[in-house]
């Protein structure tokens, strides 16, 4: 039986004259992800994208899994494609959903008739389909409030479609529709979540990581690369920049007051990240900071780090509790990788008593005691880049 996946989009439908440019971006990212699975026909009609596998052997489970990670799609619906003929719909529709109906106890039927020329009206379609299901699966009972399975019959322009309800898509806006941003990716729980959240709003995300061997290990860097790879299933291909940061950390330790280590380090990281952004035409920074989570994430500290920034800094986790961030990390499957126990770049140089309410003037004065500029330039020059992608 021919199967097809309907991808329904939410807010793109409201985009007025720009709608088609959003749609084509989404089609592009869908094509990109499905490329390795076989040939597909993708077409759009009535605020829905139709993804039709052209080959019998295509793994439709994998297709719908990949589509569930495409930003811009709000609902996904895997259905069989049928002739617009009621007797066919009743028979083949039951065949298609047999496995689900066999193991269910209750069901209901919904009908959507966007082709108003179809001879039966929605309530009549429901009644006929309901009757057919009960004849074929006599153990089932109708429950219109909380059914185990909802059988949906959609009569559209070209064909009729039968399915057992929609599943959630990734939501948001298609990647690339909102500009480019650089994610400061540490290896912890928060930053991959932050990257995911901003990519979900349509940004094309690059990532930057600061490594400090021997204070950090190859395994620690590989862990961060793995995190980038996991979120690239959502964000698409990621340019991954890796900055050698050992020298700067050691200079910082030798030349600045301990209580300001972390805050100055973050200012230097922001500076390096920005220079790479400016070079690459990236318009904003993303961090995983959550207000008040640690000393460098108080509002006072953010004032001090933002003072060096010439571009917007997006902090999508700023208002989330740790438990909420963890929940998202589990959903996007970064959590188990984030908690692997490798030394992270900050721990060795973490001050015992960091200032939670640093004053900008003091921090600036402390940072001026040493000329970091040549080392910032060197770090930018020696930064390596690789392309990370899942599909």
């Amino acid at each position: 039986m021919k199967e097809i996946i309907l991808c329904k989009y939410g807010e793109i439908a409201l985009k007025g004259l720009n709608k088609s440019s959003f749609e084509s971006m989404m089609v592009k990212s869908i094509k990109y992800r499905l490329k390795s699975l076989g040939d597909f026909e993708i077409y759009r009609s009535q605020s829905t994208l139709y993804v039709e596998p052209l080959d019998e052997d295509i793994d439709v489970d994998e297709v719908s899994d990949r589509l569930s990670k495409v930003f811009g799609i709000v609902k996904l619906c895997r259905c069989c494609v049928l002739e617009k003929e009621m007797s066919v719909i009743l028979e083949k529709g039951c065949d298609y959903l047999a496995e689900q109906l066999d193991s269910a106890r209750t069901f209901k039927v919904e009908a959507k008739r966007s082709d108003k020329r179809f001879e039966l009206k929605s309530p009549q379609i429901c009644a006929e389909m309901g009757g057919a299901v009960l004849d074929r699966f006599p153990h089932l009972k109708v429950d219109v409030h909380d059914p185990d399975v909802t059988v949906v019959v959609e009569i559209r322009e070209q064909n009729a479609y039968v399915h057992a309800g929609q599943t959630d898509g990734a939501g948001g806006l298609p990647v690339g529709s909102s500009g480019k941003a650089m994610l400061l990716l540490s290896g912890g729980i928060d930053s991959p979540v932050a990257g995911y959240m901003i990519a979900r709003r349509g940004a094309r995300v690059s990532a930057i990581h600061f490594e400090a061997p021997p204070y950090t290990s190859d395994r620690a860097r590989m862990k961060v690369e793995k995190l980038a790879k996991i979120i690239s299933a959502y964000c698409g291909e990621i340019d991954f920049y890796c900055v050698p940061f050992t020298k700067i950390q050691e200079l910082l330790r030798d030349n600045c007051p301990e209580e300001f280590f972390t805050i100055i380090m973050r200012r230097l990281m922001m500076e390096i990240a920005q220079r790479i952004c400016e070079r690459e035409g990236i318009q904003a920074l993303i961090t995983g900071e959550s207000l008040g989570q640690v000393a460098s994430q108080t509002m006072y500290a953010m004032v001090c780090t933002d003072a060096v920034c010439r571009m917007p800094v997006f902090r999508p986790c700023v208002g989330l509790d740790k438990s909420e961030i963890v929940e998202i990390a589990r959903k996007i499957d970064t959590f188990d990788t984030s908690i692997l126990p490798y030394e992270d770049c900050c721990t060795v140089f973490t001050p015992k008593h960091p200032r939670t309410k640093p004053k900008l003037a003091e921090v600036e004065k402390a940072q001026q005691s040493f000329d970091f500029e040549p080392y910032i330039r060197q770090a930018v020059e020696e930064t390596s880049v690789q392309y990370i992608k899942t599909y």
Partner: protein, 374 residues
């Protein structure tokens, strides 16, 4: 390259490589009736005899496994399966390798009482503590021979003979992974009903180990199938790996004492240099010379480890099994204060005094270059 992580794994010796190759070429299934099968069977039985000889055991008492973790699991769960109807108490040391410790933990979750005997305040184990803990409800006492993080040698034969005097039916298991082919290991002297051995810690390949099971001790099988290994551990034998294991034992067995002396001299050299530099030596003087645990206050283990790695010197922080997880074993031995700064230097007889000099020099360089924990 300087390799000081021999307690994690060892370089495969030439003899073992040759034997593995021979085992790969002789591709027959030892259970096949034809000549190819017989050739493969002879390779396996030859290795079994070599290992049995080295242990002072009968070949029929040696069963090949996938490694020491499987051996220890077989011993612990097998003992449980055999005795759980009448008895439910297990005694282990508090410093066992996870292969034993976590198997015991699983028994605890299944309702067994697990007694973990810790070192006394002086950091030493006393046989009496184990013997006193045993009672009519006890079915297994499992004690490792040499601790993998500090080299501490537990008084296994004293413990096991005391246990057997108290109750002959209590099974005794010894994890000899860090002792076999390094210290003399003879089954009679050890008094163990079961012994776990590993190939890759003694210059054989990874993926092969053995369980010694004393004649007359009946353990139910945990792996059912075609009845290989006398029906105790089904599954077609890994002929090449077993051949490699046998070849390594054949090479090392005659030189246990000689190598012990050589490695002791290396250990003494390292310890005296550490003392000169003011580094802490966590290992006791009577520990196995093959494992030396030291601590350099202020230098985090992982940082120093990666510093040394850049200089082509390979050491370990704690034990390699846990990849960065914090060790509770050091705390058991009273070294909790330095556990963040601990390195494990583990030797084989190919190491040299010059390599130790290089190590000490590089640690001194690291002290100058690296940021210290305040």
């Amino acid at each position: 390259m300087i390799y000081f992580d021999n307690a994690a794994t060892t370089a495969v010796c030439e003899e073992a490589v040759a034997a593995v190759n021979k085992g790969l070429q002789n591709f027959g299934n030892p259970s096949s009736l034809h000549r190819l099968g017989l050739d493969a069977e002879l390779i396996v039985s030859g290795a079994r005899e070599t290992i049995a000889d080295a242990l002072g055991a009968d070949p029929s008492e040696v069963y090949f496994t996938s490694g020491a973790t499987e051996s220890s699991n077989t011993a612990v769960f097998g003992a449980y399966k055999a005795h759980s109807k009448r008895k439910n108490k297990v005694i282990i040391s508090s410093v066992e390798h996870p292969a034993t410790a976590n198997a015991a933990l699983a028994l605890e979750e299944a309702g067994c009482e697990v007694v973990r005997i810790a070192p006394r305040e002086d950091g030493r184990f006393y046989a009496g503590d184990f013997i006193d803990a045993a009672d009519e409800n006890t079915f297994l006492v499992s004690v490792m021979m040499v601790n993998n993080e500090t080299g501490y040698v537990l008084p296994v034969s004293e413990i096991f003979s005391g246990i057997k005097k108290k109750d002959r039916t209590i099974l005794t298991h010894c994890d000899c992974v860090q002792g076999f082919m390094k210290l003399p290991v003879k089954v009679k002297k050890l008094g163990a009903d079961m012994i776990s051995l590993s190939g890759h810690k003694i210059h054989a390949p990874k993926g092969v180990g053995a369980l010694y099971l004393k004649k007359g001790v009946h353990l139910p099988s945990l792996v059912y199938g075609g009845g290989q290994e006398s029906g105790f551990r089904s599954g077609t034998e890994s002929v090449p790996l077993i051949a490699g294991f046998g070849a390594a034992v054949e090479k090392l067995s005659p030189t246990v004492n000689e190598r012990y002396k050589k490695v002791s001299a290396l250990r003494d050299c390292l310890v005296s240099k550490c003392r000169e530099k003011g580094y802490t030596v966590n290992s006791t003087e009577d520990a196995s010379p093959y494992v030396v645990s030291i601590a350099i206050k202020g230098l985090r283990s992982e940082v120093l480890l990666h510093y040394l790695e850049k200089k082509q010197i390979y050491v370990s922080s704690g034990s390699a099994c846990s990849k960065g997880k914090k060790s509770s074993v050091l705390a058991q031995f009273g070294c909790a204060a330095v556990s963040d700064f601990t390195l494990r230097i583990s030797f084989c007889s190919d190491n040299t005094a010059e390599e130790i000099d290089t190590l000490i020099n590089e640690i001194a360089n690291a002290e100058n270059e690296l940021a210290k924990v305040r």
